[in-house]
Symmetry: C2
Subunit: 361 residues, 2 copies
């Protein structure tokens, strides 16, 4: 059972029963489970900025609760509260300026009537619950894909369970619920299906190792950590039945941008005849983009690559003299390599412009 | 120009002009260039054991010099020298008990007549020079493959140079010369061919980042470090013209065992229509093995994976509670995915049992 609560509201709201936003500090995972109680909006801003809370849906939920914290902190009248809320929203929006869910959640909070801590808390909880419900729906649809394979015929590696490979963290820690790519895994585990998950560590920032492996293990799921360059060999040994990852942005034809290394898995899965699935909320689709070629690939600081040598007794300085780095944060997987996209509205399968349009209509 | 000397003999030999074995401490790379002078055989043993010197050919060369150090250290007569040498060989052989080149070099040293420091030094230098010549021959044959592509037609990414991706370290640091996979790169650079190398960092032990990127940059080669999970995207962007890696063991049909992640690149190269090459001395072939299925895959300690989280502010303890690891040290690339194998005797192309037998005959 999933027993991590990355985002919680503790207590009530308003001057009588002031509560606070409690966040699991994801920068300390997997070494320590430390919670940060946010009693003022500056602490919420800092938590989003520093990736204490990360993942598009989770950031939206945290920011919504951040609005409650702000208005509660001001303890003024109703007219003042509206002003405080507006300022808090502008402030929180500056914490991660490219996070679409953040703006969406703040816009929703601004429309709350009356502008009281109690009403704002009720709306933040609705946003949180809706996100959890969305994750669960993705899980239910994804579970159908797992059930197709179970019970599976005898394979080269005699494991009774269904074995799923995932990349990065599209997990509970990134959402207000049981995650997107992880949702089918949690439901399969809940229903007692034999399950084994392989988690790519996901260089350079190791979200797979630090977050996905951690949260699955905490829920009692059988999870095995591998390095990204081992996936091909693990597939060749017959140890993987399907691949599921999340998505950052999906074009109208199904081409999918996600964490660097996702496309790598899609190519490997095709070579080994293993189905490759994307799990993401329907809000991830950007129908204004015809295909993946129009999705810009963010290039990030090469020190993310060079600053993490801990092995073999060697510790590098930031960078090696004369060595360049190339650090694309995302890649684009063409829709031909994606067997299906699982959303809260259902499964898109096969993946092309027509099937995407049909499901989202 | 390559200006790293990983293995050197400094001074003469014998009681009159005692010299020593100077090793570049590869455990300190790329942060520091520290040399260790070995004046006694215990220091040589320790250097091989601790991976101060690593790479099969380099270990053989270092062990040969280690025999000189041992006999010189004893400073006895000729009959005593033979005994000292025998003991030193037994001792050095225990430093890396699976290194075939180590035993081969020690066997050669045992046969030296007369058993004097001077004669032993001459033999060690011959082993060293032969290894350097082997590397150069591989480089010359590999250069033919690069020349096939140069000048190249206009590609999606307008870089004038030939762009080569490599994995792990089959470089100068692993041999007594200019390496195996790197040899064609050094020769292309020497001859002024425009060249760009992408180096996979090579998890879990980061030999690509710590060693390959370092040695190429030190020689003035244009080298760019990437994470292993970025290779697919870099290929898709049209940035790679060929892939060259080394090999640990090659079966009679050309199936090749090499550092984990090599097979991953071979699959990706095939998908993107990029030639994938192996560069290795002919001694790497094991004709007693019909194909790759008979090559055992060494499983290593999972702490190699979990002990190196330095990113994102998180530092894991050795392992994460409840998280398993799977850490195969090697993978096997089937010969169908290998466009050619470059040896000091020539190029095997296409790769199959007949062409392998023909070249090695």
């Amino acid at each position: 059972m999933l027993n991590i609560r990355n985002i919680q509201w503790v207590g009530g709201a308003g001057s009588e029963a002031a509560g606070c936003l409690r966040l699991l500090d994801q920068t300390k995972l997997p070494g320590e489970q430390v919670y940060i109680d946010c009693h003022d909006v500056a602490t919420v801003w800092d938590a989003i900025k520093r990736l204490v809370v990360r993942g598009a849906p989770a950031i939206g939920v945290a920011a919504a609760y951040g609005c409650v914290v702000a208005v509660q902190e001001a303890r003024g009248g109703a007219s003042e509260a509206r002003e405080v809320l507006q300022k808090a929203c502008d402030y929180l929006a500056s914490s991660r300026p490219t996070a679409v869910n953040l703006f969406w959640a703040l816009d929703r909070m601004k429309r709350v009537e009356p502008c009281t801590a109690e009403a704002l808390l009720a709306e933040a909880k609705r946003i949180h619950e809706e996100d959890a419900a969305m994750c669960r729906k993705i899980g239910e649809h994804g579970l159908e894909l797992i059930r197709r394979l179970h019970p599976k015929p005898e394979t080269r590696i005699p494991t009774p369970g269904i074995s799923i490979l995932t990349h990065c963290n599209a997990g509970a820690l990134a959402t207000g619920g049981i995650g997107t790519a992880t949702a089918p895994m949690y439901l399969a585990h809940e229903q007692g299906l034999p399950l084994r998950v392989f988690a790519d560590e996901t260089r350079p920032l190791l979200q797979g190792a630090r977050l996905t492996a951690f949260e699955l293990a905490a829920a009692g799921v059988d999870v095995t950590l591998i390095c990204d360059d081992m996936a091909a060999q693990v597939m060749r040994e017959g140890r993987i039945d399907m691949v599921i990852t999340g998505a950052d942005r999906i074009a109208a034809n199904g081409d999918t941008a996600n964490k660097i290394g996702t496309y790598n898995l899609a190519v490997l899965a095709k070579h080994h005849g293993i189905p490759f699935y994307i799990a993401a909320p329907s809000s991830t689709f950007d129908l204004s983009i015809a295909d993946g070629s129009a999705i810009p690939i963010e290039q990030r600081d090469g020190r993310e690559i060079t600053d993490s040598y801990g092995s073999g007794g060697a510790k590098a300085q930031p960078g090696i003299p004369g060595v360049k780095t190339y650090n694309p944060a995302f890649d684009v997987t063409p829709h031909e390599l994606i067997a299906a996209i699982v959303t809260e509205k259902g499964i898109i399968e096969p993946v092309n412009s027509q099937t995407v349009r049909r499901l989202l209509a």
